[in-house]
């Protein structure tokens, strides 16, 4: 749980940058084609609290029309996300 408070402002800033993007019709149209990638290669461990924060972040991106994708996710982490039930919230099930 410790890391989530540190990560929070970073994620909030990223979300701001996405929501602050040009909202022209063209941009709206293209946004669904933009698929931000969330690189988890630097993450060594996480728990349900971390999953929840990531899920909320992805949900907010979805609401903005962006479909985020997790990359560099090890099998161990996939299994952990599955055991915590966050597959759907983290877009791991299509």
């Amino acid at each position: 749980m410790n890391g989530v408070r540190d990560k929070f402002p970073v994620l909030a800033k990223i979300l701001d940058s996405f929501s602050g993007a040009d909202n022209s019709d063209e941009q709206q149209k293209n946004s669904s084609e933009v698929s931000p990638e969330i690189d988890l290669s630097g993450v060594t461990d996480f728990d349900a609290c971390g999953c929840q924060l990531l899920a909320l972040f992805i949900r907010k991106l979805n609401q903005g029309g962006f479909t985020a994708r997790l990359i560099n996710l090890s099998d161990t982490f996939k299994s952990k996300i599955h055991s915590l039930g966050f597959d759907r919230e983290l877009n791991l099930i299509r």
Partner: protein, 708 residues
């Protein structure tokens, strides 16, 4: 989420502490029951209580992430379950095995709590030995080292397939809406779901039902809920038991649905992954489920409140508070008492008729302050059973070692004593009990020959007498040997004579290094102890008395003040200063006549009822200017310290107070002859006299005078 090198446990420490304390309590409870059994098997209630303790430790360890602690407790509870189901007969040898298992769990606990060394081989050995009992139905003394290499899961208490009751497969749908601060509490949902998974086939789906605005979101608050589906032969009680420490009743909904009906049914949200699978899946996985059920079959019928690790109402009616917080509260109430005294003193100079209302209110304030002080002081009081409870096992093991038969009786277990005193009294009591076991109680043959019951008795009795707590350690052994003690005293050059009363002779055993034991054993006999007992008790402002009768036994009585934080004292004046003399050491006060005053070796003594009592002029001891230097014009306060008397010369007696003791050392430095200080109603500091050290100072002064 956590990055490399970050410590993931910092915030969990305060919650871990709660687990550590609860775990220690469960272990103590388990040990207490086990040692009370003797050769008699436990009754159902006792067995349940031991099981409950093991089960609670395992549950807590799993939730707080101390998985290693679940290993021994798991096999232990499996074995207890077999005994409970009469599948394995109970034997006396199992008590030792269970006690050893408790020791191993204690070691693991100390490892997590204090960073103490944890011996993995001890854990493996006890696990294998417990498992061997499960497998063979009897305690095996030696450990099959080959088994140590087996993975833990192979050794867990899995019932053979033939023994597993054929139970219908059920599908449970659960909706788990945890407390928002579940993450802050350090609950590990991975462990929780992992334990559920051991019951059968589990699917978990997390849902963020109403996602808050990101910027307004507290990332450490749980906003998720979980939908879980479990296909299992376990019961709803089994499932609820896993959530026992995590969810209140309204936070977990469990619904059993027939396996056929489960197919295709979805929870309210658009969750489809969490649905039950078909019966065929259930059957296909029956082996896994059966294995899991076999492991947890003992968890049946746990619906009753308080049964099998469930928290009872009693547990919820108390809260744990750090000692430092209580001490802070006591300190603050002490300050309040002083302020109230100041107000009362100021108001004392005001006309009681004109200020009648003020005086009435101040009286009310005084009553309320006293009540508050007593209530707060009572928070620090804890039952002496905390100390007494450690002796049954010690007595049991020492009796076995010494080849003696001993029964330990405790009386007044609920007598309450200040927590600080409880910690300090443990060592002296331990020493006294060991002495009883080793020296006082005779071997069964000797007892038989003396016409006594071969089973000796040690009684620990606690009671409150006035403002003091009296603890007796009584044995029905051989009693103290007067001749032997006198001979030993003469041998060691300690002044003693045949004319001494029994009481005086018994006091000789408190001399440093004094021992009448014929042989030194690893239990006692080295002569290191009784002097330490006396010193420890005296450091708590306590007294030790001995009564003994040859052939019948000995009674050692320890008398302690109820608390160390407040003191009943008499304020006296010397010059411009005020001192507090503890009331419990005062015999009387008197104004001597010229006829009663004598001088021996140049020192003044007063003749009181046949005794010549030395006079201690306080002004001399503290190098002060006094108004009265002639004892005939002042007041002598007679004090008694362990039978030794002295007369303290003061200018005047002032008042009787209940004073709050403040440490001088913390705020200034150690002052000889004092036990602390207090703040009086007029705001001035008064030193509290330490009568023990006053006598010491007088003796030192006398020695110096002689040598000069």
């Amino acid at each position: 989420m956590t990055e490399t090198g970050r410590n993931n446990n910092i915030d969990l420490n305060q919650f871990n502490q709660v687990f550590f304390e609860e775990c220690a309590e469960h272990l103590a409870e388990m040990e207490q029951i086990l040692v009370s059994l003797g050769d008699v098997g436990p009754d159902e209630e006792q067995l349940n209580a031991i099981f409950r303790a093991a089960h609670s430790i395992k549950g807590g360890a799993g939730i707080f992430g101390f998985q290693d602690m679940t290993v021994v407790t798991h096999v232990l509870e499996s074995l207890l379950d077999r005994i409970r189901n009469h599948e394995i007969p109970f034997s006396a040898a199992m008590v030792d095995l269970f006690l050893e298992a408790g020791d191993v769990i204690s070691m693991q606990l100390a490892g997590h709590r204090d960073g103490a060394e944890v011996r993995q081989e001890a854990i493996d050995q006890i696990r294998v030995r417990l498992q061997q009992v499960i497998d063979s139905g009897a305690v095996v003394a030696s450990v099959d080292v080959c088994n140590l290499d087996k993975p833990i899961t192979e050794n867990l208490g899995v019932h053979p397939e033939s023994e597993v009751p054929a139970t219908a497969c059920q599908c449970f749908e659960m909706e788990f809406r945890p407390d928002p601060d579940i993450f802050k509490r350090g609950v590990r949902l991975e462990s929780l779901f992992g334990e559920l998974e051991e019951l059968g086939e589990l699917t978990v789906t997390a849902v963020l039902p109403a996602p808050p605005e990101f910027n307004e979101f507290d990332p450490e608050t749980c906003a998720c809920c979980w939908y879980l589906t479990l296909i299992t032969t376990a019961s709803e009680a089994d499932i609820r038991d896993i959530f026992e420490f995590v969810a209140e009743e309204d936070q977990l909904k469990v619904q059993a649905i027939p396996v056929n009906a489960a197919s295709g049914k979805a929870p309210d949200t658009a969750v489809t992954e969490g649905n039950c699978t078909s019966q065929s899946t259930c059957q296909a996985d029956s082996e896994i489920v059966d294995t899991a059920i076999g492991r947890r079959a003992y968890d049946k019928n746990e619906l009753a409140p308080g049964a099998f690790g469930r928290r009872t109402n009693e547990g919820e009616s108390s809260i744990r508070v750090g000692v430092s917080k209580v001490d802070q509260l006591i300190n603050q109430v002490g300050e309040l008492v002083i302020t109230q005294l100041m107000l009362a003193q100021t108001a004392g100079s005001l006309d009681p008729v004109v200020y009648e209302n003020l005086h009435r209110s101040l009286l009310q304030l005084e009553r309320n302050t006293r009540d508050l002080q007593q209530s707060v002081m009572s928070i620090r009081l804890v039952p002496i059973s905390i100390v007494f409870s450690r002796f049954p096992r010690m007595v049991r093991e020492l009796a076995a070692k010494l080849g003696k038969q001993v029964e330990l009786k405790t009386i007044g277990d609920s007598t309450e004593l200040d927590k600080g005193l409880i910690e300090k009294i443990t060592d002296p009591l331990t020493h006294l009990v060991r002495n009883c076991m080793d020296h006082a109680l005779e071997a069964p043959a000797a007892r038989n020959a003396a016409g006594k019951d071969p089973v000796g008795t040690i009684t620990l009795r606690a009671s409150q007498v006035g403002g003091r707590i009296v603890i007796d350690v009584i044995d029905d052994g051989a009693g103290l040997n007067r001749t032997k003690i006198l001979a030993k005293a003469a041998e060691r050059g300690i002044p003693a004579s045949d004319a001494m009363s029994d009481e005086e002779v018994w006091q000789l055993i408190f001399a440093p290094g004094f021992s009448t034991a014929d042989a030194v054993t690893d239990i006692s006999g080295r002569g290191v102890g009784m002097d330490v007992v006396l010193r420890n008790v005296q450091s708590m402002s306590g007294k030790v008395n001995i009564m003994s009768e040859t052939g019948k036994g000995t009674r050692v009585t320890i008398s302690l003040p109820l608390t160390l934080a407040i003191l009943d004292g008499l304020s006296v004046a010397v010059g411009d200063e005020k001192f507090i003399i503890p009331l419990n050491s005062i015999i009387e006060s008197l104004q001597p006549t010229a006829a009663s005053m004598k001088s021996i070796n140049g020192k003044n003594v007063v003749h009181v009822r046949g005794d010549y009592i030395p006079i201690i002029p306080l002004y001399e001891l503290f190098n002060m200017k006094a108004r009265v230097t002639d004892p005939e014009k002042g007041i002598l306060v007679l004090i008694d310290v362990d039978g030794e008397k002295a007369a303290v010369l003061v200018d005047a007696l002032l008042d009787e107070h209940q004073v709050v003791i403040k440490s001088i050392e913390t705020n200034y430095r150690k002052v000889d002859g004092t036990a602390g200080a207090t703040i009086l109603g007029d705001g001035r500091v008064a030193l509290i006299l330490d009568v023990n050290s006053l006598l010491e100072m007088r003796k030192l002064q006398a020695t110096d005078d002689r040598s000069n």
